[in-house]
């Protein structure tokens, strides 16, 4: 990690918006590169990246409606889906090799064209897209493989894979989109698949409620996003990235109007909804009602990172407001801390990891906010591996122990036969999440935290300390879970879920219960992900000047060119200073040591309370009972939202319906109807059922209306 590549940028923001086409030598060649007018055409076969998953979804969907298909016997839909996703992954790799450090564009077909609004089904390919493609298609292939075993025997086997295929289609549209409207399509599309998959077990009321909540909370954010798109269109006359970035070049916060500065705040709302940040995070923990592969894929590795991706992609818009990115940073930092405190007090494995996901996403937002888009996307990348691993590991436990997820009811899994792979891979995942030295999470989290100490202003230093404290909590709650579930005395109770493939082989009762060890597909996937969790951090260390290969990729993308240069223009170049003044002056160096120590301390605390002396933990809990209750109940945020928002709106609905419509409006109408009837009863003799009489009446009435109108117009004109 040589550091001189970030020289203080004297050039203005204006020229930095178009990514440098070549990254090399460490000279200040990048950034100042000439504005390229036309973007080169990309490979046409990029269209297969979303197409293969869509085809897989259609095939699986047809299976779901085939009467003769027996989900208990055949795994064909699962294999179709794995194949489709694998092909998509292979295509992605081929496309990525074409992209390199360039920016390419592929138009598939014309989509919306109305007036001057043009939004095509077209792709914008740059290194940021490459990274996201790798994560999305790679992890989804692995998760589909895992799910082909995990979901076997479920009645909705084919339906599940149809939804997964649809999800990958939407997600790849999201990351490939070359305009805001297509991005929005993918954005809502993944939201839909998330809705369908959270509610996959639709007979469970809790799953249905969770699905609905996820969709609606996301919609709140999406409204902001949609308005942001509209405002962008109004201000710049385009929603396509290339012309938009072109139009943005030459602007700085001083040179744009106030309404342009509102755009990032609107877009941010969408990101906070999708990526479960304060105050819109409430849906993600509930989303764990979905099948575990879904939690791993959608609610940990891919979909929830869309917000980070969006901000990285649209960074040129975000830097136009001096307060936008700092707001993102603070929201991220606060969410990270807040979710970690809740995660400490939960007992459900998946919920712990859900809060952990919220917290880690908070880190990513913090990273992008403190102007390290590289750190944010790097953390996104490593997090995808270790969090998918942790969820899939929990899923294996859940699968084997009939839905048991309570860490108080399960212990010492290491010793149970057939659970070795799960135990070891979970250990790797937990270490990576806890920021244990030289595993992936360690490098990426440090990049973010160090940058918080480097970028000046906006209280980022406080944010940095908050981040460090959160890291301590993270290490603690992660290993609280690990020590409880995998180490200690061997003891387990089955959950209450009668898994569909039990076939009476192992029943409910604890005495007859035999855990059901994972098969080859699950073990293989866990192993691959564990390797990723252990080593994926090194792409950010080796293979390039700053932040390794990863830094090189990010540097050539829209996201980072801007934030890097903004950081430089803040004079926030810690590196140069670091070289002069030694170790402690460069946060990027001392952060490694500090965070390693913090991670170890967290693990040690967890070791003491949850392995060595579990009674001590209970005693401590009694001491701080109010705090524990508050945390266990998640700060009562859900209840607060219910009382402050949901109930009043429903009340308004009742008032409008019962009073507004039924009494006031219908009352007035009835009154209006009664007047003619009154008149009618006085002149009843005139109504003898003779047609021309009515016609005459109607004509007279019409004349009267005309006369009134004529009079009104005379009055109005003069």
């Amino acid at each position: 990690m040589t550091l001189e590549s970030m020289q203080p940028m004297l050039s203005e923001l204006s020229v930095l918006l178009v990514p440098a086409t070549a990254h090399g030598g460490g000279a200040a060649s990048h950034g100042a590169a000439a504005v390229s007018e036309a973007i080169a055409a990309g490979p046409w076969f990029a269209m297969f990246i979303p197409l293969f998953p869509l085809l897989a979804a259609v095939v699986c969907g047809l299976f779901a409606f085939t009467r003769r298909y027996d989900p208990k016997r055949s795994k064909i839909p699962g294999w179709c889906c794995v194949l489709g996703l694998l092909l998509s992954f292979v295509t992605s790799v081929a496309v990525i090799s074409r992209i390199g450090h360039d920016t390419l564009q592929v138009t598939i077909f014309e989509w919306i064209a109305s007036g001057s609004l043009q939004a095509d089904f077209a792709f914008y390919l740059d290194p940021l897209t490459s990274i996201m493609l790798l994560v999305v298609t790679g992890i989804s292939t692995l998760v589909a493989l895992y799910a082909s075993e995990y979901m076997s025997g479920d009645r909705g086997y084919a339906r599940f894979f149809a939804f997964i295929g649809m999800f990958v289609f939407a997600m790849t549209c999201l990351i490939l989109a070359d305009n805001l409207v297509l991005l929005y399509l993918g954005w809502e599309g993944v939201g839909l698949c998330s809705y369908l998959l959270i509610g996959f077990y639709y007979e469970k009321p809790s799953a249905v409620a969770a699905a609905k909540k996820a969709f609606i909370v996301n919609r709140i954010g999406d409204l902001g996003f949609a308005l942001g798109i509209m405002l962008t269109y109004m201000e710049f006359g385009t929603v396509e990235f290339a012309p938009l970035f072109q139009a943005l070049s030459g602007h700085s916060p001083e040179s744009v109007s106030g309404s342009v500065q509102i755009i990032p705040f609107l877009l941010m709302l969408g990101a906070f909804g999708k990526s479960a940040q304060l105050p819109l995070y409430v849906w993600l923990p509930d989303a764990m009602e979905g099948p575990t592969p879904v939690s791993a894929l959608i609610h940990a590795a891919t979909m929830v990172t869309a917000g980070v991706y969006m901000i990285a992609r649209l960074a040129p818009l975000f830097v136009l407001s001096p307060y936008a990115l700092p707001t993102v940073a603070w929201i991220g930092g606060l969410t990270a801390l807040f979710a970690a405190t809740i995660g400490m007090a939960q007992y459900d494995m998946k919920r712990i990891f859900a809060y952990s996901t919220v917290s880690q996403l908070g880190y990513m937002f913090m990273g992008i906010g403190v102007l390290s888009a590289t750190g944010a996307v790097f953390h996104l990348f490593t997090h995808a591996f270790f969090k998918a691993l942790l969820f899939l590991g929990s899923g294996a436990v859940m699968h084997g122990f009939a839905g048991q997820l309570d860490i108080r009811r399960i212990s010492g899994l290491r010793k149970v036969k057939g659970w070795g792979v799960v135990t070891w891979t979970m250990l790797v995942g937990c270490l990576a999440l806890a920021g244990f030295p030289f595993l992936s999470g360690f490098f990426s989290k440090d990049t973010i935290l160090a940058q918080a100490f480097v970028t000046p202003g906006y209280g980022f230093t406080i944010l940095g300390f908050m981040g460090l404290f959160t890291a301590l909590l993270t290490a603690y709650y992660t290993f609280r879970l690990f020590f409880r579930v995998f180490l200690g005395p061997q003891r387990y109770e089955p959950g209450d879920e009668h898994h569909a493939d039990d076939d009476g082989g192992h029943g409910h009762e604890a005495e007859h219960f035999h855990p059901h060890a994972p098969g080859w597909a699950i073990n293989l996937v866990l192993t691959i992900l564990a390797l990723g969790a252990a080593f994926s951090g090194y792409v950010g260390v080796f293979g390039g000047e700053e932040h390794g290969w990863f830094g090189g990729m990010m540097h050539a993308s829209t996201g980072n060119a801007v934030t890097e240069s903004l950081a430089a223009s803040h004079g926030a170049d810690g590196h140069a200073a670091g070289e002069a003044a030694g170790f402690w002056a460069d946060p990027h160096k001392w952060m490694m040591a500090v965070s390693a120590v913090i991670g170890l301390v967290g693990i040690l605390i967890a070791w003491y309370f949850h392995l060595l002396n579990r009674q001590a933990a209970d005693r401590l809990k009694e001491r701080v009972r109010p705090i524990a209750v508050l945390l266990e109940n998640k700060w009562y945020v859900d209840e607060g939202y219910d009382i402050l928002i949901r109930k009043p709106l429903r009340m308004a609905g009742y008032v409008f319906y019962l009073i507004g419509d039924t009494i006031i409006i219908n009352g007035l109408v009835a009154l209006g109807g009664a007047i003619p009837r009154l008149i009618g009863s006085t002149i009843k003799p005139m109504q003898r059922g003779i047609l021309h009489g009515y016609g005459l009446g109607m004509a007279a009435g019409l004349c009267a209306v005309l006369a009134i109108m004529w009079w009104l117009i005379q009055v109005g004109v003069t």
Partner: protein
């Protein structure tokens, strides 16, 4: 050709009425299918290069003294609405095959007559033809509700009739006033005419802003009831709930569009000055309707009533886009008409299918239907999502364009007087739509399985000589056949909205530029006769600039047109 299009359903209706009971359904289906084919032929022959012109004109003199002509003609807006009508009618008839068991002959005959009337509205080039068809839709609909409706049908049908009739009588007065004013004016030289194009041009060019204001008010009375806009919407839930499935489908899909079409065809082009002045007021009504309707949806316990109120909410977007007076907004509005017709129509069909099985509309009676009716559930979720406005499906296009159009309205480049705040507040309707529709899905489709007590149903069968053939639990092939074309249309319009947006662009551009021109002309007039206090404008451009709201600030856009109106009053 257009005359043939109108006559086919009428002939079918007569044939259906004359034919034996057993063949009635098949005949009605064939007749409407022929209508569909003919409308496709028309669509193929339509010259899209001149999509803004009235094409395939025909005119038969009717009563010369008053200039009455039976004249028909279509532009591309009429064309797409005609296609919507002829597309949905056969499906509706097919969907009602088993639902209507008594007096089936009359039922299908009335549906055919209704189709003819609706087509007449869209194809009319003469005010009186338009108005006669517009009003005539009431009669078949009245019988459909009153004879074939459910428990509360008597009240519903009377309310439906009187509510809309009262409104449209005032509309008629407004239209007659325009014709009368034309006849009195130097342009008309004493000749009566009801030709829509002539009267529109006269009204927009020669009437003062104040006169236009009154005309607009009169037009809005009828059309707003039909749309329906808040606060004259209360007939709709009642009529929808009580109407038979086919009635609800036609009501939601096409009849409501008569209101928006009327606003599009008359209110905006006739009163370009007034509409800019009163657009904020109308927009406020639309927005109230959007939010108010949506919140009411959320507390419904009757499935059909929920969908009915969702129309109140949805049509608010449609009118909002229209009165934004930007080409994007109006395109969105027209797209919304089509898309709402497809998705809400389909939702009513879906609801009708479970009603036919279990004879109850109460949400509490159902739960977890997805388990036993997976095919039905898939379709219902699909149409719910289309209605929620999921990108990639049709609903999104209309909603998004309406909101974009509203958002950029009044930014200086457009004659509109709305702005970002209107779009932002209306946007909450998007969230609420998700809330109430997913609430519906969560209650009826998902959750633990609960089916209504079918004892009542069985009892009906016994007491009924034309016992409905018992339907299987999930959808039959016929029912799937009804829903598949609509689903395909939803996907096509969502993925390639160009097939709809491209043809309708030309007339919309024409209309927007006509509105702009009216303002320019008006501003020029104003400058000529400006009182001494006003600074004289230097040239036309400056006049234009002063007449059109330039500011992005909402407050000033609100005030400016009314100031304009006042100045104009002074100028007289």
């Amino acid at each position: 050709m257009l005359l043939a299009l109108l006559l086919i359903p009428l002939v079918t209706a007569i044939a259906v009425a004359a034919a034996p009971e057993k063949q009635a359904r098949a005949l009605a289906l064939c007749g409407t299918l022929v209508g569909l084919l003919l409308s496709i032929v028309i669509a193929v022959q339509f010259n899209y290069q001149d999509a803004g012109l009235m094409q395939m004109p025909m005119s038969i003199a009717w009563y010369d003294t008053f200039g009455l002509n039976l004249s028909l003609g279509i532009d591309s807006i009429s064309l797409v609405l005609i296609l919507l009508t002829t597309f949905l009618l056969p499906l509706t008839i097919l969907g009602s095959f088993t639902a209507v068991t008594q007096r089936a002959k009359e039922f299908f005959a009335w549906l055919c007559i209704l189709e003819a009337a609706m087509l007449g509205v869209f194809a009319a080039r003469d005010l009186i033809v338009f108005y006669v068809c517009f009003e005539f839709t009431l009669i078949p609909m009245y019988f459909l509700i009153a004879v074939y409706g459910s428990a509360n049908r008597a009240k519903a049908s009377i309310w439906f009739f009187l509510y809309t009739f009262t409104g449209s009588i005032i509309t008629l007065a407004g239209l007659v006033y325009v014709a009368w004013a034309y006849q009195m004016s130097p342009e008309g030289t004493g000749n009566w005419t009801f030709d829509i194009a002539t009267l529109t041009a006269f009204c927009s060019e020669h009437m003062t802003a104040a006169q236009q204001g009154w005309v607009l008010l009169a037009l809005c009375c009828g059309f707003a009831v039909k749309v329906p806009l808040f606060p004259v919407h209360t007939w709709l839930p009642l009529a929808h709930t009580e109407a038979p499935t086919a009635g609800s489908v036609v009501l939601a899909a096409v009849l409501l569009k008569l209101g928006t079409y009327g606003l599009f065809r008359f209110a905006v082009p006739m009163c370009p000055l007034a509409i800019t002045t009163y657009a904020p007021l109308l927009a406020v009504l639309c927005i109230i309707g959007i939010l108010y309707g949506a919140l009411i949806c959320w507390v419904q316990t009757d499935v059909k009533k929920l969908i009915a109120y969702s129309s109140v909410s949805h049509l608010g977007f449609c009118v909002l886009g229209l009165i934004a007076l930007t080409s994007i907004g109006i395109s969105g509005s027209v797209a919304y008409m089509i898309n709402h017709g497809l998705s809400t129509g389909a939702l009513f069909l879906c609801i009708g299918m479970i009603y036919e099985r279990y004879h109850t509309r109460a949400m509490d009676d159902y739960s977890g239907l997805a388990k036993v009716m997976p095919v039905w559930a898939t379709f219902t979720v699909f149409f719910i999502l289309s209605s929620v406005g999921l990108p990639g499906l049709n609903g999104f296009i209309g909603e998004f364009l309406c909101l974009v159009g509203t958002f950029i309205s009044g930014d200086g480049a457009n004659p509109g007087t709305l702005g970002p705040m209107y779009a932002a507040i209306a946007g909450f309707g998007m969230i609420l739509a998700a809330i109430y529709l997913l609430y519906l899905a969560g209650r009826v489709l998902f959750g633990p399985l609960k089916l209504p007590d079918t004892h009542h149903h069985g009892h009906d069968d016994k007491g009924d000589d034309h016992a409905a053939p018992t339907l299987p639990q999930d959808l039959t092939g016929r029912e799937v056949l009804v829903l598949v074309p609509i689903a395909v249309a939803c996907i096509v319009l969502g993925v390639k909205p160009g097939v709809l947006l491209a043809p309708i662009a030309a007339p919309i551009e024409q209309m927007v530029s006509a509105v702009s021109e009216a303002h320019t002309r008006h501003a020029a007039l104003l400058i000529d006769g400006a009182p001494p206090g006003l600074p004289p404008a230097e040239d036309d451009e400056a006049a234009l600039a002063s007449a059109e709201p330039m500011s992005r600030d909402i407050d000033t856009t609100d005030n400016r047109p009314s100031e304009l109106g006042r100045k104009e009053g002074l100028g007289q």
